[in-house]
């Protein structure tokens, strides 16, 4: 098992945001967490990557307990997190952003760049441009490319489709599928439940801090409850 989240409770001050969530991600899977705004999806990812601390519960990555590990050390274990809203370094160039993605390595090699540029040719064209001048879709590609520079074992994507035009959403999901085919394990958080279930090996449905349903992507996509609540059917 690659990632095992065991009964975590997370608070923002007095607000009990995550109420005892457990799930796991196996090597080679795409696991999707879906749910409405405020269900706690981003909070879960932030807790896994160490930006937030669970009050109780534990998180294990590659059979190692990372619950209390500093965020920057967790990255060194091979876990990359593409945060909500992309959070690229807008004042740095595309190339510098990618270099930051390879911070865990002694130095970003040409091969690291080539691998990312092959996947995102647009970034190669724009490598000396300041990241703030990129379009929304390009910024999302940069955020994903930046995370891939560390050659992560597990890639966590938080709302990669947010704010993108439908054609770009398709493109981003195609890339997610390609990454998965190339052997990357992915934990995906999405509001776009239709797309998220389509690519998912397994999925969990969240509601106000708890998991209310789980199953394979296909099972959940067929479920009447899900259709009604999240797929507009």
């Amino acid at each position: 098992m690659m990632l095992k989240v065991d009964d975590i409770h997370v608070y923002y001050g007095n607000i009990h945001a995550i109420k005892g969530i457990s799930f796991d991600v196996n090597e080679g899977e795409i696991v999707s967490l879906i749910g409405a705004n405020g269900a706690g999806k981003s909070t879960i990812l932030k807790t896994i990557s160490g930006l937030l601390r669970p009050k109780t519960g534990s998180i294990a990555f590659m059979d190692q307990d990372i619950t209390k590990l500093d965020a920057h050390k967790i990255v060194h274990q091979g876990l990359a997190h593409v945060p909500e809203g992309r959070r690229i370094f807008l004042k740095m160039t595309v190339k510098e952003n990618l270099e930051m993605g390879a911070f865990t390595k002694p130095e970003a090699t040409k091969q690291d760049f080539d691998t990312v540029f092959e996947r995102f040719p647009r970034l190669k064209e724009r490598q000396s441009q300041v990241a703030g001048t990129l379009s929304g879709g390009e910024q999302q590609m940069l955020a994903m490319g930046r995370a891939l520079m560390s050659a992560p074992k597990l890639l966590m994507l938080d709302e990669p489709s947010m704010g993108l035009a439908p054609i770009l959403v398709e493109q981003i999901f195609d890339i997610i599928k390609t990454l998965h085919d190339a052997g990357t394990t992915i934990l995906l958080v999405e509001q776009n439940a239709g797309m998220a279930l389509e690519v998912a090996s397994r999925a969990y449905v969240l509601e106000t801090g708890s998991i209310i349903l789980q199953g394979t992507g296909a099972e959940l996509a067929d479920s009447e409850d899900i259709k009604k609540a999240y797929l507009g059917g």
Partner: protein, 292 residues
Amino acid sequence: MLFLSQLINGLQLGSIYALVALGYSMVYGIIMLLNFAHGDIIMMGGYFALVTYAASSNPLLAVVATIVGCVVLAVAIEKVAYKPLRQAPRISLLITAIGISLFLQNAAQLIWTANSRAFPSTSIIPSITFKVGGLSISLSVLVTIAVSVASMVALTFLVQKTKMGKAMRAVSEDTEAAQLMGININSTITFTFVIGSFLAGIGSVLYCCRYPVVNPTLGSLLGLKAFVAAVLGGIGSIPGAVVGGFAIGLAEVLFTSIGLSAWTDAMVFAVLIIMLLIKPTGFMGRSMTEKV
């Protein structure tokens, strides 16, 4: 000719302000703290130079002791006073910085008394004057400008090209995202304090060579003026601090040269007020968007 000699004079003062303003701006850029103890670290540096020179009569050793002393002091302050407040509201951090400033001034007074002491400026930079045409320039002016410019070039290289410098920029832009890259925030902050206080150490020696008197309140006005320079240039911006420093230095000398020397300090703060009214982000500042 008089104008030219005043211009050089202003460049000397401006380069010192720029060095000090850089420390303010870099620290602000990374932890949003107006480090009001920065000027007092420079004051302590003046005493470090004084004491080391008195004990060793070695000017080079005095300079090294000043720089090392300032760096060690600043890093210690960061660890003891600022680091525990990482999650605290920014106002707590600011009040702590003011507290540290008062603490350093009183500590200096306790150790070295409140009396001003003469700084061995001519032993550190020999008093040689060059005559170029009708213009006379002292070695100290040339050294100050050269050392400051070299430090700023080195700093630019460090920040733009090295891995640690890039990490500094990343942390200053988005601390959380920087952590997700695997960047250790604490060591990056410490590194920023090291650079800022290294420049402060250099600034301390150069300032004391220009105004060769050391006393416990030496850093207050210098610190405030450098702070004005940093705000003028756009706090958080490295080129902004340099531009702001030179602007304040030149303006001050210009003001003195037209016979208003009693008004120079007031002028500096008037510049701050005007700038805050017209363009609060400074010449090169980023517009502030509060993160949610």
